[in-house]
Amino acid sequence: MCRTVDLHQAVLARNDENALALRGYLGDRGTVAVNLLSSPGSGKTALLEQLLARAVAAGVPAAAVTADLATENDATRLARSGAPVRQILTDGLCHLEAGMLRRRLEGWMPEGTRLLFVENVGNLVCPASYDLGETLRIALASVTEGEDKPVKYPTAFGLAQLVVITKTDIADAVGFDREAFLRGVEQVNPGVPVLETSARTGVGVDALLAHVLRAADGEEAHVPVLAREHERYLDSHDHGDGTGPHVHDGDHGHGDGRGPSSGGRGRHDDVPGAAPVPAETGGNAP
């Protein structure tokens, strides 16, 4: 006979647990993390360099980790800002996870760091699914990437708490359709704030830093529609601020925090007394 084991576990449960722990770790140190998502070539590194330099100039202790597939160029550029910077080489891996980030921070992150910028791997698909314990998640797109970017990558833009347009100094030259871009953003993430920036001219950089600082000071960040559904599951583990755009769902762990094999015979069967319940499409059922 076949035996059915009901699990009802979130696939990303482990990352979510690590993110929760990381959020606590950062909170204990008075540090606020900002997770930056974009495609390669979005100008994210240039903008972050400006942002760090202005934070340093304003006396705000800021640091950055930058995830890259294989090179350390980004860290070298960012270090020119004067802020502590650490490279995480992912060896071709497509996203950061909370546990990985935590291990890189431990023993490195300077005491008193107020803002920790996390430059995620240049990719708008995979990183969107992984909560990194951030307080603010930003999705960036440059004017050269086309106005359909938000609709093409609805998870990344749909879970962002702030959308940043980069390289706006060349918007006219490349024929950027600003209204279409904003319509796409509004479609997948109604009400999300949008900032327009240029690392070259410096436009919007102060506004961006101010936005980040307000979030750090506890101003409630935008809660995307895509992230809101999650709140109904929050009772299974206390997330504290409850504002992070977690992507998990489901009552994983049933609140007891143990693995499902603790009973030795699986969790339980759906129907009491009717133990072996074949899956509905059970081609392998006897």
Partner: protein, 145 residues
């Protein structure tokens, strides 16, 4: 594409769940929302790779797809969000509340009669391949190429 990372996470959780059972896994049911950012076809492919050499080798992957649905906070209208989603109400313009579509969950596992590696009547397990995805946290990630 992170579907291989997802598949490896699934395999890891299922292995943990059935470790004490001493049986192979016949099938595995996942619930995946349209708006979860996971492509079922890619996951199907990744699943075959990720299960090689594990207790899930040869298991059938059953995917329950959940439609993205929203309810308007203004007029109360309920409708599918579509994909890519439109998350404001096309009737009155108010913001929607998401009712479903973000699921990414392991629902259940059906165990086979015999231990891993035993022949089953219909489709025997694939031959085990040594050295494939055991996920320690760092090594289990997947190249994005």
């Amino acid at each position: 594409m992170h579907e291989l990372s997802i598949a490896v996470a699934v395999v890891e959780q299922v292995e943990e769940a059935v470790r004490d059972q001493g049986r192979a896994v016949a099938s595995l049911t996942l619930r995946i929302g349209e708006l979860a950012g996971v492509v079922p076809e890619a996951l199907d492919f990744a699943f075959a790779l990720a299960t090689e050499g594990t207790v899930l080798a040869g298991a059938r992957l059953l995917i329950d797809t959940v439609e993205g649905r929203g309810r308007c906070e203004g007029c109360g209208r309920e409708a599918p969000t579509g994909m890519p989603p439109v998350l404001w109400c096309t009737g009155c313009g108010a913001t929607l509340t998401l009712l479903g579509g973000r699921e990414l969950e392991i629902v259940r596992v059906v165990l086979a009669d015999g231990p891993p590696g035993a022949e089953s009547a219909e489709d025997g397990p694939r031959p085990a391949v040594a050295g494939l995805p055991t996920r320690d946290e760092e090594a289990g990630h997947v190249p994005h190429r």
